[in-house]
Amino acid sequence: MEQPKPPSVAASAAEAQNPNAFTCELPHSIYALAFSPSAPVLAAGSFLEDLHNRVSLLSFDPVHPTAASFRALPALSFDHPYPPTKLQFHPRAASAPHLLASSSDALRLWLAPLDDLAATATAAAPELRSVLDNRKTSASEFCAPLTSFDWNEAEPRRIGTASIDTTCTIWDIERGVVETQLIAHDKAVHDIAWGENGIFASVSADGSVRVFDLRDKEHSTIFYESPRPDTPLLRLAWNRYDFHYMATLLMDSSAVVVLDMRAPGVPVAELHRHRACANAVAWAPQATRHLCSAGDDGQALIWELPATPGAVPAEGIDPVMVYDAGAEINQLQWAAAYPEWISIAFENKVQLLRV
C-alpha cells in the first residue's frame, strides 16, 4: 500500500503511482456527478458561472478497468443552461428509457440513450424530455434556483427539489405537475433527501435539519440544529441501507455530523479528521455503518461508525481508509449499482477509486 502523497504531486503522477485510480480530464471545472444504475456510465456536469454549461457522459468498465476504458463519450454530451447543481439517473435499473434529471434554474429531465454504448458514433445526443418549472403555476417573474433534488427510489415518479426560496417542491414527473409544495425553512433550502415511506429531510441556511412526512404535511420535525447560531447546513446524506442514519455538513467546517433518527437533537458522532472544510459526504450503499467524505484538503476518507453510539471514543473516530487526490475534492458519489467504486470530482478531473 502506498503512503499518502504530498499535495505538490500532480494528479497524473498520483494516478501513475496508484494503479487502482482512474482519471478522466474534461475541458471544464466539474461539480455534479451521477452514476447510472443500469449502464456503466457516469454523468459529469460542468461548473461555469455562465449560461452555457455542458454535461458529459463517461463510460467505464467496472469489471476489468483500465485507464483507456474510462473515457468521455463526446456524442452523448449535451449543453445545459446554467451549471447543474445535481445530476441523478432514474433509480430503477429496469426502466426502459434512461432518464437523467438535472437541477439548475429548473428541474429538467433528459432522455439519455445508454442502451448501446458501443455505437456512440451514431447515437443521438440526450434530448430534453421535459422542464419542470414553477413559473407557470405561480406566475411570478423569476424561478428561484434549485440547490438540489432527490429522486425517490421507492416511488420513482416523485422527485423532491430544494430551492433558495425556502420551499421544497414534490414533483410528479409522469404528469409533469407539482404534487405538493412546502415552505420548509426560514431561509434557503440547501439539500433534500428521501427516506422511506414518503418521508424526506432537508437542510437549510437556518442551520436546521427538518424531517417531513407527506402523509402529514402540516408538521415537520427538527432533528438537528447547528451548534453555532445561524451556521448554514450545506449537504445532507441519508443512509439508504439503514434509514436510521443521516450525515450533514456545516458551512466553513471540517466536521461531518452523523445523526441517528432514534436520538434527535444530539449527533451520534462528529468526524473531525479533515484538515480543511468538508465538501461532500456519501454513505456506503451496502453497509450499515460506513461512509465516505471528501473535502478541501484533497482527501477522501472512509469512516466506520462504532456498533453502539456509546462506543464513540472521547478523542474522536479515526477514518479507516484515506485517498489523497492532491486538490480540493468538490463532489463524491458512491452508488448502489457499483458498491466497490467511488467517484470524485476535483478541478476539471473525474476519478474512479476502487474501495
Binding site: M1, Q3, P4, P6, S8, N18, N20, A21, S29, Y31, E49, D50, L51, H52, P81, Y82, P83, T85, S104, D105, A106, V131, D133, R135, E141, F142, C143, A144, P145, T147, S148, I164, A188, D191, L234, M251, D252, R273, R275, A276, C277, N279, A280, D296, D297, I302, D318, P319, V320, M321, V322, Y323, A327, E328, N330, Q331, I342, L353, R354, V355
Partner: protein, 483 residues
C-alpha cells in the same frame, strides 16, 4: 483434526509374585476379576488379551471398539512384549491401578499417560509412594520397569494394523483366554476437509483487486505542512457554496440573458415589469408636481418672486400664442366690441366716431350702465390719461389691461386704490407699445398693489387669470393683431 470416533487402548500393570522362569501362569479367578474391575474404569472397554508378567503383574490390552477373534494378532502382540525386556520406570500411587491410554489421532499426535501401582489384595504389603518408587528403582532386574517408550510405540504400531483388517463380524466373547481382533470404522472428513481447504486458502491468498485507498495514519507533523498550500489558493467550500447559492442561475436570470424557451417567457414578463415600472414613475412625478402646486406659501417674499415669475411666464405664453395663431373673423369682432365699450365715453371725436359706428346700440347701452365713471384725457406728446372708477368685480383688472394692449398703448404709470368695494385706477400711457416697457409696467403694477395691501386679491386674480388664459386666450389677443 480429531476423529469423531476416538479409540482408546488400555494397558494396566499389576505386580504379581511369580517365578520369573515360568512363561505362563494360571491366575486365580478372584485375582483375575480384580484386575478386570480395576481396568474397566471407562465404559465399553473390551479386553483383547491378558499377558502375565512373571515378576510384577499382568498386561491387559483393551479397546472401546467392537472386536472380533484373531488368534494370529494376539500371538504377534504376545511375542513382541516378551521379546523386548522392559527398562522403563513408572511412578505409582497406592491402591490405584495404572492405566496407559493411547488416544488415536490421525496426525500421529499421541498422548501417553503411564503409571504403575500395586493392586489391593496382593500378598506384598503396601508402602508409601516414595518408598515404593525407591523399591522399584532398587530392583534392577525388574522386567516390568524396563518397558521403554519404544515398546509402547511398537505396541501402538500393532494397534494401527488392527485398523487395516476387515471386519466380517462383530462379537464379544467373555473368555479371558481367547483372542480378539480390533475392527476400525471409516471416518467421514468431508466437512473438515472443506473447512481446512478454506482456512488454508486464507493463509496463502491475497485480495485480487487492491483498493485505491490506504490505511489512515495519524500524521500531526505533516498536517501542518500539507494544510497550508491546499487552502491558500481558494476560499473554503468554494463550489459547494456556489451550488447552494443557486449556481449563479439567479444572477444570470436577473441580467435577463435568455437561451431557453422558459427563459424567453421570463424575458417577456420582465419587459412588462419594466414598462409597468416606468408608468408608475411617471405617475409619481405627476403626483409630486401636483402636490407642489397645491402648496400655498405665506411668505411675502416667496409670493412676490413666484408672482413675478408667473407673470413673465404668462407674458411669454401670450406672445407665442399671438405669433402662432390665425384668428377667425367672428371672435375678433366680439373681442373688439368689448374693448371699445370698456374704454368709456370721453374720447376724441375722431376715435369715438370710428369705433362706435359698427357697434350695436343694445350692447353699448348695457356697458354704459355698468361703467359708472370713465375719463380719458389726451395730453401732449401723444400721451393720454385714463381715469377709471367702477364697482370691483372679478376679471376687471384683466379686462382693463387687455383693453390697453388692444389699443396699442404703452403704459407709463399706474395708480390703483380701492375703498368700499370701488376700484380707483389712474393710468398714464403712450400710443407706441414695446415688450420691454410692458414688462416694466407690469412690475410697477405689482409694487403698487403691495403698497396698498392688495397682494392677496391680486394673487387670486392671477390664479383665475391662468384659467381664463387657458380657455379664452385667443379671443383676447386678437385686437393687437388688427393694430
Amino acid at each position: 483434526m480429531r476423529s469423531s470416533h476416538r479409540r482408546r487402548f488400555f494397558v494396566s500393570f499389576a505386580p504379581k509374585s511369580s517365578p520369573p522362569a515360568s512363561t505362563c501362569v494360571d491366575l486365580p479367578p478372584a485375582a483375575h476379576n480384580e484386575l478386570r474391575s480395576s481396568a474397566n474404569k471407562s465404559s465399553f472397554t473390551h479386553t483383547i488379551v491378558c499377558v502375565p508378567f512373571i515378576m510384577h503383574g499382568v498386561l491387559e490390552l483393551g479397546t472401546t471398539d467392537p472386536v472380533s477373534e484373531d488368534p494370529a494378532l494376539v500371538d504377534r502382540i504376545t511375542a513382541s512384549l516378551w521379546d523386548t525386556p522392559p527398562r522403563a520406570a513408572f511412578s505409582s500411587e497406592a491402591g490405584v491401578a495404572d492405566i496407559v491410554v493411547f488416544e488415536d489421532l490421525d496426525h500421529g499426535n499421541t498422548a501417553v499417560e503411564a503409571t504403575t501401582t500395586m493392586v489391593p489384595g496382593e500378598p506384598e504389603p503396601h508402602a508409601v509412594a516414595g518408598g515404593e518408587v525407591a523399591e522399584c528403582e532398587s530392583n534392577a532386574h525388574n522386567d516390568l520397569e524396563q518397558i521403554t517408550m519404544d515398546d509402547i510405540g511398537e505396541l501402538y504400531s500393532l494397534c494401527e494394523e488392527l485398523d487395516v483388517l476387515d471386519d466380517d463380524s462383530s462379537s464379544w466373547v467373555a473368555d479371558p483366554w481367547s483372542s480378539f481382533q480390533l475392527v476400525p470404522t471409516a471416518e467421514a472428513t468431508d466437512v473438515d476437509d472443506a473447512v481446512v481447504a478454506a482456512l488454508g486458502a486464507i493463509d496463502g491468498s491475497c485480495r485480487p483487486s487492491p483498493s485505491s485507498f490506504v490505511a489512515w495514519k495519524r500524521t500531526p507533523d505533516s498536517d501542518e505542512v500539507q494544510a497550508v498550500p491546499l487552502i491558500s489558493g481558494e476560499p473554503p467550500q468554494k463550489l459547494l457554496k456556489k451550488a447552494v447559492a443557486g449556481a449563479g442561475a439567479w444572477m444570470n436570470n436577473a441580467d435577463g440573458s435568455a437561451a431557453t424557451m422558459t427563459t424567453d417567457q421570463g424575458s417577456s414578463i420582465k419587459n412588462h415589469v419594466m414598462s409597468e415600472r416606468r408608468r408608475r414613475e411617471k405617475l409619481k412625478e405627476i403626483r409630486s408636481e401636483f402636490m407642489r402646486c397645491l402648496l400655498l406659501q405665506v411668505d411675502k417674499a416667496s409670493i412676490l418672486a413666484e408672482t413675478i415669475a408667473y407673470l413673465k411666464e404668462l407674458e411669454k405664453r401670450v406672445e407665442e400664442l399671438e405669433s402662432s395663431s390665425q384668428p377667425s373673423p367672428r371672435p375678433m369682432e366680439t373681442t373688439r366690441r368689448r374693448c371699445c365699450k370698456s374704454t368709456g365715453k370721453k374720447v376724441s371725436a375722431g376715435a369715438r366716431a370710428k369705433r362706435k359706428a359698427p357697434a350695436p346700440e343694445d350692447t353699448d347701452g348695457e356697458r354704459r350702465h355698468c361703467v359708472s365713471n370713465v375719463n380719458v384725457t389726451i395730453m401732449d406728446n401723444k400721451e393720454l390719461l385714463l381715469e377709471l372708477q367702477c364697482q370691483w368685480k372679478e376679471l376687471l383688472m384683466t379686462r382693463v389691461f387687455d383693453a390697453i394692449k388692444g389699443v396699442s398703448l404703452d403704459v407709463l404709470s399706474v395708480q390703483a386704490s380701492t375703498s368700499d368695494g370701488l376700484l380707483g385706477l389712474k393710468i398714464q400711457a403712450k400710443v407706441v407699445v414695446s415688450a420691454a416697457k410692458s414688462s416694466q409696467q407690469i412690475c410697477s403694477i405689482v409694487y403698487l398693489s403691495i403698497y396698498q395691501s392688495l397682494y392677496l386679491r391680486l394673487f387670486g386674480v392671477l390664479i383665475l387669470a391662468i384659467l381664463l388664459l387657458h380657455a379664452c386666450s385667443l379671443p383676447h389677443l386678437l385686437p393687437s393683431n388688427l393694430g
